[in-house]
Amino acid sequence: MTTIHKFGATPISCHAWSGNRSELALSHNSKDVTLYNAKGQGWEKTAVLDQHDLRVTGIDWAPTTNRIVTCSSDRNAYVWVKGPDGQWKYTLVLLRINRAATCVRWSPEENKFAVGSGAKIISVCYYEKDNDWWVAKHIKKPLKSTITSIDWHPNNILLAAGSSDFKVRVYSGFIKEIEPKPSATPWGARMPMGNLMTEFSNSPNGGGWVHAVSFSPDGSKLAWAGHDSSISVADAANDMLVMKLKTNLLPMCSLTWIRPNTIAAAGHNCVPYTFIVESDAVKLGSAMEEDKKKESSGKTSAMDLFKNKDKLGQNELETKLNFTHQKQIAEIRIVGGQKGDVDTFSTCSLDGKIVVWNLKTLAGQMKGLKI
């Protein structure tokens, strides 16, 4: 079953849930971030975070420490902390970039966050207690173009970045000031800061911006969605084997792992799809919603028929999609459960809706659903 939350008709570009899932932060493609509190069936607006000068491009809410980080086209990021009086206090983070920030993610242990930008730089920021500010360390080589998406590895050190230079790279985001040296992983043993562990090209035919990257729950696999309508999974444990599925659908914009071997992805098709990862291939699972084709009502009156023909040059007025979302989905976020064991996830879309998808009830309702 899906729960639909409407927030007006303006596109929602990004959203994030609080740790206890009772609060929601979202941005309507503007410079404000609005916070909502769940109240009964609806939402009550609690705060507006409006420090940014330009469009907010990414929001992430750390579940344990309850801090929000937002990044924007104005080349800044702010960390918001809720004071004892309930007001959100902001701290500017100097990212030292000269282009827009595009995406931001807290690390799993929430002691640092990474910001991707159009300056071909990833800024990994951590809190320095002595000076009471957030310091940014840059990862530059060999990024050639804008970073479009970022995901942290569960070990809090490795970082995957998808970029518009058609490549996905795994870097080390190790900050020696705040954490102990990591142990070896299938992605490599030596992990100095900014070290490129591996690089994957999206397509042998050269194209396709990478829209979203996501590590598997155990960190051994990396999935990404490219603009050439493909989903690829790289398996570090299996000698960096890349399994690519070229789909018949429109490109996906966001993806996450809902089971240890199943990915949920959503994008320009306006409905989430599942993809099953097998040992040597990725297969399309199913769509999470059936195309509810309405049977055309028996007699469309002759007057309506000619009225439409005259006004629009068409026989019927069919502009509504047969899915819950009417426009492309911008982001998928996990609501209930965690990566690899998801009960519910939410999708935000350019039609102003946030839809929460409940996998258990969906599996019961839709016979064809493959998870």
Partner: protein, 151 residues
Amino acid sequence: MAKNTSSNVFRTLDVDQYNEDNYKEDNDSTDPAALGPNDTLITSLLAANKPVEALTHLLSGATLGIKDQAARTTSLTLAMRVLMAIKVSQIDDAVAQLDNESRDVLMKFIYRGFEVPNEGSSAHLLVWHEKVFTVAGVGSIVRVLTDKKRV
């Protein structure tokens, strides 16, 4: 007023190349092998009235990303000959026989064929387009647009 207001010479300068932020393409300098050897095989199959086989050979042998424009034009003319030779009734079977990679390459040829219309070619190509689209979906069209290595 200065005489130069009518001069458009500056428009022919590519100023973007001097921008230090300019995106530099990863030059995979592996020169793809020419389509040469297959041409004779394909023409002989066409002459022998076996256009569907010619199509399979054409698509599996097609190399993407050839820089030489003349080679690309010859491969396009050959592809058009094969596509026109296959009758409308045979198209369904022909498409069903292909694998996913070949279907993507076929869609690329179809769009290139649309760019240079001859009499009657576009109508036939539209039928091809419809048949391939029913099997390969929007994804194949997206790949025609996004793949940098053109056919």
